[in-house]
């Protein structure tokens, strides 16, 4: 069973997996190293994309949506690891 998202670390991995945070956030050694503004901005961007209230906080509604079954393709294509087409 895939684990639901219930901690900051899991959310961090999720946001990195789907292109909202740099891929390095998936590496346990470097997780938690990004600044607060990057973190809030990533949460906001995910909330905006998913049609949630944009709070910038890892609230229950956000974690609930992050725990839904979904497609494994990144939401933000080209973000994080490389350059976008443009």
């Amino acid at each position: 069973q895939a684990a639901p998202v219930s901690t900051t670390t899991q959310a961090e991995i999720y946001l990195s997996q789907f292109g909202y945070l740099p891929a390095s956030a998936r590496n346990p050694a470097s997780s938690g190293l990004h600044d607060q503004q990057t973190w809030v901005s990533a949460i906001e961007e995910f909330q905006n994309f998913a049609g949630l209230n944009i709070t910038g906080e890892l609230d229950a509604e956000t974690m609930k949506l992050m725990s839904l079954p979904r497609c494994g393709v990144r939401d933000r294509v080209g973000a994080g690891e490389g350059r976008s087409k443009r």
Binding site: A2, F18, S41, P69, C71, G78
Partner: protein
């Protein structure tokens, strides 16, 4: 919708299921995968042919955990499947730890997930429209499937509209001449034909297209101006001034008009609050006296154009305009400076207008489209249905097919 940036050069694609799921019968899987591909051929000329051996465009596998592409599956729930964009091969992988089901609310519906994944295989990214098939989250079993308009627009922007539909027997045959009983409608007030430079063009939330010029506005049909136009802007949008600089309708359904240092917001034809307001207040980081504005189909963000520069505005971001803006319009390959208007049209293409000419922009290639006749083309003929307009680009003959009929063709063989 959002496009990844690549697409297949051909429309007749092949696929192969090289590893079947462990819990379903092969014959059932074949049928469901076929149905899932058919979702994308309904509104385009795409065809999908199943092969059982040899090289194919799209290879399909049901696998578990780490399966060779570095993106391991995570067991039941979580990620269900992933697929590669055309530029990366188009293959689709399904997590075989899921309980794949057919026509049942139990488990995970194979057809729905496969149709979504094949959208990626064809070049579509995730949509932020929750009703779209290309939204990333699994919505549970839906007994009646209907492709969302957002998905239709997305796939047609890459592969064009369907051209091979069976026509009713009384349908007149394709011709380069307009039928004599349906002449192009020329506006009764043909001032727009004599001077087709416009102030702005925009789509309403209902998908109607309007052109503003001076104190008048025109409602456009697919190839000309609707009868009964022009009308006065002051009557159509009470409280709105003449000589608008730029306008667009955002995904919230509201239309924004810009003039000088101010902007107005309308819900349909009604002013949506106390306006005008200063652009510097509502659109921080955007200059006044704009040339053009639009919501770009490539990413749904708002773009403003002035002189030789453009700004990208994302209301969800703080600040909404990144420090890296403005950027040169020359980044939009082939688009000129000092625009009059920009429009994401209902056919999925982006259009730029300057003087009496317009440019069609190819979102996926990120450059002005190549076509015959070439762009820029005269706006009067192609947008307002005017006859015998001067054409610096040549080859515009009276009665030729309209701009919009051409979109049902494959744009270019060399894409």
């Amino acid at each position: 919708y959002a496009l990844q940036g690549s697409r297949w050069r051909v429309k007749n694609l092949t696929y192969k299921i090289s590893k079947y799921p462990k819990r379903l019968k092969r014959v059932d899987v074949d049928a469901e995968i076929g149905r899932a591909f058919a979702v994308w051929s309904e509104d385009t000329d795409l065809t999908f042919t199943r092969k059982t051996s040899g090289p194919v465009h799209i290879e399909i596998k049901f696998v578990e955990s780490e399966h060779g592409d570095g993106d391991a599956f995570d067991g039941q729930g979580g990620t269900l499947a992933h697929a590669f964009f055309p530029v990366f091969g188009g293959d689709a992988h399904f997590d075989d730890a899921e309980l794949w089901t057919i026509g049942s609310p139990r488990g995970t519906n194979l057809f729905q997930v496969a149709a979504h994944e094949f959208g990626h295989s064809l070049g579509l990214s995730h949509s932020d429209q929750s009703s779209a098939l290309m939204a990333p989250f699994y919505r549970g079993f839906e007994p009646v499937f209907k492709l969302d308009e957002d998905d239709k627009a997305a796939i047609q922007s890459l592969y064009g509209r369907k051209t091979n539909q069976l026509r009713p027997t009384n349908f007149y045959p394709p011709t380069t001449q307009r039928p004599s009983f349906s002449p192009p409608k020329v506006p009764l007030d043909d001032s727009i034909c004599k001077d087709s430079k416009v102030d702005t063009l925009f789509n309403s939330a209902q998908g109607e297209t309007y052109a503003f010029k001076g104190d008048k506005y025109y409602k456009l049909t697919t190839d000309s101006v609707e009868e009964g136009y022009p009308q006065l802007i002051s009557k159509g949008w009470p409280g709105l001034p003449s000589n608008i600089d730029a306008a667009f309708t955002y995904k919230n359904g509201k239309t924004y008009f810009f003039k000088g240092t101010q902007y107005w917001r309308y819900q349909g034809r009604q002013m949506d609050g106390v306006y005008p307001k200063e652009i510097s207040e509502g659109f921080t980081g955007i200059p006044d006296h704009l040339d053009a504005a639009m919501v770009w189909g490539g990413n749904g963000k708002i773009y403003f154009f002035k002189g030789s520069k453009f700004w990208r505005f994302d209301p969800a971001k703080r600040p909404p305009v990144k420090a890296s803006y403005p950027k040169p319009i020359s980044n939009w390959e082939g688009v000129p400076n000092n625009l009059d208007a920009a429009l994401k049209y209902t056919n999925g293409y982006t259009y730029f207008f300057k003087g009496d000419k317009y440019y069609r922009f190819h979102d996926a290639r990120f450059s002005v489209d190549t076509a015959t006749p070439p762009f820029p083309r005269p706006t009067a003929h192609w947008w307002f249905g005017c006859k015998n307009t001067p054409s610096s680009t040549g080859n515009i003959v009276e009665g030729s097919d309209s701009e919009f009929e051409q979109h049902s063709q494959i744009p270019h063989a060399d894409d």
